[in-house]
Structures are given as C-alpha cells and as structure tokens.
C-alpha cells in the first residue's frame, strides 16, 4: 500500500480485496469503544476479506484477525481507500 485516495468514504463502500486506512469513527460511547478495542484506530489498514451472500455482514481483516461487521457498523468507520 503506497498511496491513499483523496476522498474520505466509509468502510462499507469497499469491495472484497480492497484496502483502506481508517481516518476516524463517527460514533460515541460503547460502539466507539468496541471499534477501538477491535483495533480500528486512525491509521489502521483494513482489507475486505469476504462478503456474505446477502452482502451483510462483511468480514474484514484487521490487525491479523478476521472480524465481521454489519453494514451499519462499517458505515460509521471513515477511511481513505488505498490505491
């Protein structure tokens, strides 16, 4: 991963195989804490591992673990796409 796309988008917009770097989290309280505990701090590289047949949830590769997030969750994580 060398460069990042200019536009900020959410993690939910990535498709399997694509990578993004976390810019920020648009949530508070326990949800935010949970994301941080999963390793989703700004600067973290996330790759889309696979999407379930119905498109939700999606499995992401985050700091060496595969973690499933629902679409509404992934929408709270802003990223810049790695190009």
């Amino acid at each position: 991963m060398d460069t990042l796309d200019d536009t900020e988008r959410t993690l939910a917009s990535l498709t399997p195989g694509e990578q993004g770097v976390v810019q920020g989290l648009s949530c508070e309280g326990l949800t935010r804490r949970r994301f941080l505990d999963l390793g989703l701090v700004p600067g973290t590289l996330v790759e889309v591992a696979l999407r379930s047949p119905l498109g939700d949830p999606t499995a992401y590769l985050i700091r060496g673990s595969t973690i499933a997030l629902r679409k509404d969750e992934a929408n709270k994580i802003s990223i810049r796409k790695a190009v």
């Binding site: 804490r33 949970r34 505990d37 999963l38 390793g39 060496g64």
Partner: protein, 275 residues
Amino acid sequence: MGACGGCGSKCGKQRGVIRLGVDASRLDYLVALAGNPNTGKSTIFNALTGLKQHTGNWPGKTVTRAEGMFEHQRKRFKLIDLPGTYSLLSTTVDEEIARDFLLFGQPDVTIVVLDATCLERNLNLALQVVEITDRVVVCLNLMDEAQRKGICINDRRLSVDLGVPVVPCAARHKVGLDELVRTTHEIASGALTAHPRHVAANHGTMEAVDELVPMIQSMMPGMPSVRWVAMRLLEGDKRIRQALQTGELLQLAAALASRKVQQPQTLAQAKLVPA
C-alpha cells in the same frame, strides 16, 4: 501418587502435571484462561485437564465457561476455559461470560493467552486484565507459528514492560506448558508477585475513582473489582450502573464466588439463578 502416576496412557509431555478431568473433590486454586478468540485457550485447557473442549482454527468456538481440574505439586487447580474476547469494556454476549468471570469470579490466577503472531492486537486485552488483577501470567502461545513467520519476540523484555511473568509456549505441541503451570503455581501461592504496569489515567480521573470506591464498598460490601466498576460509572456505562443499582452485580459475584455454580453466568443470566 507419583508425579505422573495418575494419568496412565493419557499422559502427555507435562511431567509435573496430573490430569484430573472433572474431579473437583478438593480445590486449592482457581485459574482462569483468558485471551482473544482463537489463541489456543482450549488447547491448553485440554492438555492440562485431559478433557476435550472443542478446538479448531476459527474464532468463537468456546461459547460458555468450561471447568476442569489438574494437580501439580500436590496442589489441585481448577482451570476455567473462557470464550475468547477482544475487550473487557465493550463486550458481546459471548464476551460477557468471559468478562463477568474475570471481574467477579475472583480467580486466584488469570492466564492471559496471547497469539505471538499478532501481539499488537492481543496486548490490548492483556492491558485491560492487568487493570483488574495483579495475579496474572501471560502465556505467549503459538510461538512455533511466530517462528515460522520469522517473528522474533523478546519475551523477557515483554515481561519487564508488562510487569508480569511471560511464558513462551506452543500449546499444540505441548511446549512450555510445564513452565506455564509452574509459574501459575508461583503466582497462586504468592511465591512470585507480579507488578503490572498500568496505563496512566489522568490525575482528576484517579481522584474521582478514589472518591467513588468507598461509596461503592459501603453500598455493596464484599464486591470485587470495585475500581473497575468505579471507572465504568465515571464513563457513564448505563448497563453497569443499572446492574449495580438492582443488586445484580453483587448477586453475580456471590454466585461466582461459590465456585460450584454450573454453566453460563452473565450479567443477564445471573437474575435467573436462585440465590
């Protein structure tokens, strides 16, 4: 019974350990196995107790608490295999079982099992566990995998930085388990004391915690992990606040402290258990 006399053909390579399965007739120490999902907790549990908890290469296999026994140097240890968890603060339902036991089950020792191939992720939980107890042993598991991937870990330095003993292991190959049991025994008996380094909180927060702790203690005498509870209250954790007010938290602690209670105990389920 000799060091390895009790287990017949089932005996693995751990020389100082007698596997006792579910025979909990006498108990000296209670030991919990905590860690992220898929770090080898059940593999360690099976190797030490001779039981057969479900293991496999995907996360989330262990969903309730399992108990088993082993003997070491004439002391009997009850080992609790817990579901994997990424956090003690923001838990899912499976994770609550692990969190509740670690906080309110008052284990004599907590073994935090880390995946040596992704330490960065795993250390988050280790730091959260040392916030609630000093009686911690870190098991640096999957060392064989780490080696295969060319990852080299200075375990002594890690031990100094964390302030708790660190034992490198490859549980699947029964490597390091003797040392793990020995160290666990030392922490349990007090022969070895850990001095965990804590993440620094700011002065104001610490003062607020110090103020809250005696209030909670007088409200709920005998309640474990009071500092942790105080921190959650300061953070505005509604679930904990409610559990404290309704007495649910104290009930859970009492149920877990009896050490005889069977199967899953979470904040949500504690109410259903007769006192």
